[in-house]
Symmetry: C2
DNA sequence: CTCAGTGCAAACTATTTGCAGATTT
DNA sequence: AAATCTGCAAATAGTTTGCACTGAG
């Protein structure tokens, strides 16, 4: 149940929060900019302010419910954190985003970090190109 | 010689361009935000406007002289394109940036792209953590 | 001399914040 | 009722643009 996640994060269960989480959970599309979420809510006749969308997203990121990505371009995208780490391929023409995971790369990163005396906390790998 | 690079890019050889390129070429620091470059130029008693710095950087990126990176946070960083591809490790405490290159990871990315019918054009891999 | 380049200030875009009223618990 | 949350509008931060002047070729 989604609502309990909100509560567990120490946040009150409000309409904007429920609806944003629902969108991220049930949409076919998995990655949204704040603006896209905002527009989507409006289309669904849910009145919210864009400021609330940003605030809620920030809180959800802090709570570990969702993740925030900084792809190329000027907007960040958000997606539900389903617990399975993955990286992204971004189609530069269409904006389509596909996820992937590769153990060899993951492993290599750890080795490289060790070799450099670097405590690896997170990483971001994004491939840019075009789907045929 | 740096000036010829500017000319080859179809740009006139002007003070701001020469100085920005020189900074990127000769500084110990390899990665700069637009603001840092601007401040550095001012400290060296070179009068430029921040708008010019942004314009010149954009032109240099288009010309392939420099590269632009979108690490976490809100500012982009620029570095000279020395032709040798590399990825980055960013120290989240100090901001220190160290470059690395790993053939296995590079290779893996190509394979993954192929497997997904994706024409890989560029990629960005950044490790976040802390140097010991 | 001509056209590209520059500085300045104003414009823009994405995001954040202050505040008074509305909602959750 | 108390504390959090919300919408609105104003504020920010980074970056871009319009314009009249300057400087490179």
């Amino acid at each position: 149940m989604d609502k309990s996640d909100i509560k567990q994060a120490g946040l009150k269960i409000t309409k904007p929060r429920i609806e944003i989480l629902k969108l991220l959970e049930t949409s076919e599309k998995q990655h949204f900019t704040a603006e896209e979420l905002y527009q989507e809510l409006l289309s669904n006749n849910i009145k919210v302010g864009i400021a609330t969308v940003y605030r809620v997203l920030t809180q959800f990121v802090a709570a570990g419910l969702i993740m925030k990505h900084n792809f190329e371009g000027d907007q960040c995208v958000f997606e539900l954190d389903r617990g399975e780490h993955h990286d992204h391929m971004v189609d530069m023409k269409t904006g389509r985003i596909v996820e992937f995971h590769d153990e060899i790369i993951e492993q290599r990163q750890i080795e490289i970090a060790e070799k450099h005396g670097f405590t690896l906390m997170e990483h971001s790998l994004t491939l840019y190109g075009e789907f045929k």
